[in-house]
Every structure is written in C-alpha cells, then in structure tokens.
C-alpha cells in the first residue's frame, strides 16, 4: 500500500515543473550560515548503493584517507611543529579511474564539510578524489607555500600546482585516466587560475573544471566580508559580545533540550525558536572570516619572522600564552593585511610590484580571454551571493555565457550540498 503511494508520488514528482528551485533559505546571509540541512542534501545512495564487496573489511574502497607529504625541507617554527607536512585526503578507486581535485575555500581545510561531502559524492560516482586545503589555511602556509605569505593568487596557485603534481606522483599517474578540477569560494577562483597555468605547464591537461561560488576579485570579495563586520559593530569588543550572547542562547537551548549532542540541525532548531536577526548573521559571517584571517596572518608572520604581529627576533616558546597575539591578529582586516604586510612583502621581493598590479593579478579579469575561450570550464554560483558585486556578476555572465549556472538563492556556498546543485555538478563532470 505504502509502496504504491510512494510510486504515485514519484510519478507526480517527475511531472513537476523542472524550473522550481526549492532551496529553503531565501535570505542570502541565512543561507551562508545555515547551509544545507541534511534532509535537503543530495542523497548519496542515489549514485550507487554500497555493493557487497564494499562491506569487505579488508578493502579500503569507500574510505577517505588523510595523508601527509613533505614538500619543503626547511625548519618549522617550534610552535607550528605539527604543520611540517602538507595534509590532504584521498579517496581512491581500485582500478584506473578519472581523478577529481577539490580545492577548499578561504581558511578551510581539506576536511571541511563541503570537501568531505563532494569527496563522498564523486568517489561513489567512480572518481579518485583528492581534497586540498586552501593556500590560506595555516597548514598550507607552513608546509606548502614557497613564500609562506598567502593572498597573492599567482603565487598561491603555483604552490597548489606543485602540491597537486606531487600528490599525483604519490598516487601513480598510470592509475589515472583523466584530470578534473573543482573548488569553492576562493578555491573556485584558484581553480580557474590553475586551469590557465596548466595550459602552459601541461602536467595534467584538465578535462573539466567547475568553479563553485568563485570570487571574481579576491580584494573586492574580502573587502565585502570586512565590511560585514565594520558596518555592523562599533568595535571588536562589541563583536565579541554579540558572539558571546549567541553562545549563551545556544547553551540555554541545549540545557532545555533532550538532545545529547549538538547536531547539524541544532543551530537550525535554535533559529526556529529564537530567530537570529540579519544583523547578527552578518556579524557572525564577518567574525568567522576575521578569526580565520587571524590564524592565517599570525601563522604567516611567525613563519617569515617579519615582525608584523610577533616582535621581530622574538621566538615564541611552546609554553608562552598566545592570548596577546590572538588579540593583535584579530585586529587585522583583510585590507590591513594587504596594505601593511602582503604588498610590502611583494614589493620587497619584486621592486616593480605596485598595488594595482597585485590586485589585478588576483582577479579573474586578468585571465578573461582564456576563460572566454575555454569551453571545458563552467561556473555555478548564486544571484544573491553576498561576496559578488553587480559588476562581478556581469563579468561572470559576459565571460562564461551559457557555461554559467546562476541559482536564485543560496548565498555564499550555502547550497553546494543541495540536491539540485550536486545533480548538476555530476551531470557536468560525467558529460
């Protein structure tokens, strides 16, 4: 009886208009913070159900393995001793198969929720999948970055390219039938640059490349995120107070509930009972960006010993409190970082470098002719993505034409795990 009913529902669903996009959060800031609820995620079972041999405990199919690789033989600062090797993850097929690289977004690791999800999807779809952290992630800065000063895209992309090459050699090129690439947020932007670099270096020859919610210009998008904070709070103390209030409301909700753990839906449940205002959402996004930036800035400063946060010549001991450094590092906005640290560094290594040149080189517009011609590169983003200006959207439309998929909602990366989006990604790579 139930089965018959379900079947009817399926038949009905098949006739529903294909254009309806039912991603639930229409407010872009809500979408960015809450993402995709587990019930709206793309169902993994629909790709390929687990086969009997996958249940063999001796086979490692279906298992994601965290791996590490030593890329640079150089001393690591004592307090960052654990970041001497690049950490990444692989999920491999048993036989020869196509490979997909996934590049994480700003400040995120290979183990971020989006990377893990996409890794599971494409592994089930028959790909070897390699997830890489963003060059802005502290582990990458210490272990894989040549300069250890992240944020200048041409250099970051060159470092990513070297890492990918080393990882592929580790896996074995004869096991790989073709190379594919995707990345979200800043990782999307970097994917475009990687594709461009590969036409010159020719180590992979990418079959298909998909940019998910890319920033068009790193500085423009980062400045928007800076302003989410500076426009909504008077100072850092107020930002800290807003977050502390939210934590205490979360705690109260946890006390009153029967839930044993903070689940994925816990924040959503709280959002139902005590609505989080748009201003609070903006502050949350701004704080998250600023805190991950602080980790990056401090890590880079300790590696170069440049004396930006930690006094030059001072060696931080492993028993030293880092509270003053956190306090100082959180005060740095992305614009501060660019003007007070990144640009002086670039000018130090190349006296001909100017602000205009550095900013332009970190924008997709610098490789626009290449992107216009490359039919194997596609973009998936949202009309309400808060990191894009109307100009940025115009650029994407002009450059990619019908290779741009624009969803009406989803904010910044909120709908990457949503069923329609993942289905479209699978379609693109399988074509």
């Amino acid at each position: 009886m139930h089965r018959a009913l379900l079947l009817c529902l399926f038949v009905l669903a098949a006739y529903a208009p294909a254009s309806a996009y039912e991603y639930p959060f229409k407010n872009p800031y809500e979408a960015t913070v809450l993402g995709t609820l587990p019930r709206d995620e793309f169902p993994l079972d629909s790709i390929r159900p687990a086969r009997l041999r996958d249940l063999n405990p001796l086979s490692d199919l279906g298992t994601v393995r965290a791996r590490e690789l030593l890329l640079h033989e150089r001393p690591v600062p004592q307090i960052l001793w654990y970041d001497d090797t690049l950490q990444y993850s692989v999920a491999l097929q048993r036989n020869v198969a196509p490979l997909l690289f996934i590049i994480a977004g700003t400040g995120s690791s290979y183990d971020s929720a989006n990377c893990r999800f996409l890794q599971a999807v494409f592994h089930r779809a028959g790909y070897h999948v390699v997830s890489l952290s963003s060059p802005t992630y502290p582990n990458f800065v210490v272990s894989a970055s040549t300069t250890q000063v992240p944020g200048f895209i041409p250099q970051d992309v060159a470092d990513l390219y070297q890492s990918m090459d080393a990882i592929v050699n580790e896996i074995g090129r004869d096991r790989i039938s073709s190379y594919n690439l995707t990345g979200y947020s800043l990782g999307g932007t970097q994917s475009a640059f990687l594709a461009e670099l590969d036409t010159r270096e020719k180590r992979f020859g990418f079959d298909r490349v998909m940019l998910l919610n890319p920033a068009v210009s790193l500085l423009t998008s980062a400045t928007i995120l800076d302003h989410l904070l500076s426009d909504n709070v008077a100072d850092r103390t107020e930002a800290a107070r807003v977050v502390a209030d939210l934590v205490s409301d979360l705690s109260a909700a946890y006390r009153g509930s029967d839930e044993v753990n903070f689940g994925d839906e816990f924040l959503f449940a709280l959002h139902g009972s005590r609505s989080i205002s748009e201003k609070e959402l903006k502050i949350l996004i701004g704080v998250a960006f600023r805190v991950s930036l602080a980790s990056m800035v401090f890590t880079s400063d300790v590696c170069t010993g440049a004396g930006y946060i930690s006094p030059r010549g001072h060696v931080i001991e492993k028993n030293e409190s880092l509270s003053p450094y956190l306090d100082a590092a959180v005060g740095v906005s992305f614009e501060d970082y660019v003007d007070e640290y990144l640009l002086p560094f670039l000018a130090f290594t190349d006296p001909a470098m100017t602000r205009e040149r550095a900013v332009a080189a970190s924008s997709l517009e610098s490789i626009a002719p290449f992107l216009r011609e490359s039919t194997s590169i596609a973009v998936m983003t949202n009309a309400d993505d808060p990191i894009l200006t109307p100009d940025n959207l115009g650029f994407l439309k002009r450059t990619f034409n019908d290779r741009l998929t624009l969803y009406p909602a989803g904010g910044h990366c909120g709908n990457i795990r949503y069923r329609d989006n993942v289905a479209a990604m699978l379609d693109f790579f399988r074509k």
């Binding site: 705690s251 006390r255 980790s295």
Partner: protein, 255 residues
C-alpha cells in the same frame, strides 16, 4: 593504576627514543614588516570566553607533550589496531569497556539523586551484560537507549564544588582540578575484567593478562575519541579547546 603507569612509562621511553625529529633552528627571513601591530598589555578580546587558567605555562607544555605523544606513539598504535581488526570487533571491544563504565555512571547518578539516569544506567548494565554477552553487544544502545554521561567530577559540580583552575593532564588531556579528582574516583569504581577471568592462573600469567587488558583499554579509549590535536588548523587551538571543554562541562553538570 600500577599497570597504567607501566604502559605510560613504556610509551614515554619509545617516544623519547623515537626522538622528535629536529631539522635545524627556524630563522626569521630577510623581509621585515614596515609596521608592528603591537601586542596589548591586557588582552580584552577573550574576556567573554576566558577560563581561569593560572598554570597556562605548564598546561601549554603538557598540551604540546600530549600532541607529540599522540602523533609519534599513540595514534600509530591506534591506526594499526584499526587496520588489523574488523570494525565489528572494534565495536565489540568498545562496548565491553563502555559497559563497565555503567558502574560509575550509576553510582554518580544516584549520588545526584537523578532517578531516571540511574535506572537507565542500571538497566543498560543488566541487559547488556546478560543478553549482550558480557557487554560485547550494546543491546539497549541499538534499541535507542544510549549511555548517559555522568562522572564524579559532575557529581561534585552538582553539589556546588567549583571547577577550579584549568588543568591539562598528561595523556588524558583537558581537565580541571575538580574533574581530575573525579577521574581517580571513577577509576576506582571501574573493574578490570581480567580479575575475574584469570583468577586461577599463575601470578605471571595473571599480571600479563591484566596488563594486556589495560593496554587494549588504552588503545580503545583513544580509538573512541574523535579529537585530533591541531585538527582545527588554528594556531590558537589551545584557547579554543580550553573554552569549549569548560563550557561543555558546565552544561553537562546542568543536565
């Protein structure tokens, strides 16, 4: 306790002899930032998230030590264990040790007058020990009645004992003065299953069997904890973990 000490010392020896690979001293590069942001005398930002931590120097050293122990000794052993044994066997081992934890959980629930938790714990122990074949199968857990979370530290907290300063313990990790006391009381309430099983054996066989049980217990304990040092990726992880640990304990006591 003596056995735990012995294993701990053994680990320590392996750890020291494995030697933390030193690849020379890190030196600052030629680039000097034109501006130094300046370090605040009295950091105020963390005020809302601050935890009483007067022994921060000691604690940070211990955090560092634990992370190195984890990386060079503990995790390689756990990974080998996970690679050799099928998942079902690993689950069975975890279930046996978790089942023995029901005793302190029951006692602590009673000490706090929490009748519902006490009965859940008692029921779980009785059914899992009998129908669950000595605790190998978590019958009630599979049926939707998970293990309660109670320990002597929480009992003390329930009766108004303040948490005391933050304290990072060797091997065990984040704790506090009150909770450290609780760990010893709970340990005294947990039985080593080998005492009953190997009673009739010779002294040497009994001793090595119980040392073996403690060894497996230590490996299983790490296997069950998802936490990995420096997984947050942030150089400020120590502060984050300190805050989350303290907040979580505070909330657990209210539950």
């Amino acid at each position: 306790m003596r056995h735990t000490m012995r294993i701990f010392l053994l680990c320590l020896i392996i750890f020291v002899s494995a030697g933390c690979a030193t690849n020379g001293q890190h030196q600052p590069g030629p680039f000097q930032a034109p501006l130094h942001r300046g370090l605040p005398e009295d950091p105020t930002l963390e005020r809302h998230f601050l935890v009483h931590d007067p022994w921060e120097g000691f604690n940070r050293n211990m955090y560092h030590f634990n992370a190195q122990l984890d990386r060079y000794v503990y995790l390689p052993v756990v990974r080998t264990y996970e690679a050799i044994l099928p998942d079902s066997v690993q689950q069975g081992v975890s279930n046996v040790f978790n089942n023995l934890k029901e005793i302190p959980i029951f006692v602590n629930s009673v000490l706090q007058g929490k009748a519902k938790k006490a009965s859940v714990s008692l029921g779980r122990f009785v059914f899992n020990t009998t129908i669950g074949l000595g605790g190998i199968i978590d019958v009630l857990g599979n049926g939707g009645i998970p293990q309660e979370n109670e320990d002597f530290g929480q009992t003390l907290g329930f009766w108004g004992v303040p948490p005391g300063p933050y304290l990072v313990l060797p091997v065990f990790g984040p704790s506090g003065v009150r909770d450290t006391g609780g760990v010893f009381v709970d340990a005294a309430m947990t039985i080593n299953p080998s005492y009953g099983l190997f009673q009739d054996m010779s002294w040497i066989a009994r001793e090595s069997a119980s040392t073996g049980v403690y060894g497996v217990k230590a490996v299983d304990a790490r296997h069950q904890v998802k936490f990995r040092y420096y997984e947050t990726g942030s150089p400020f992880e120590y502060q984050l973990v300190r805050f989350i640990y303290s907040k979580k304990r505070e909330l657990d006591i209210d539950k």
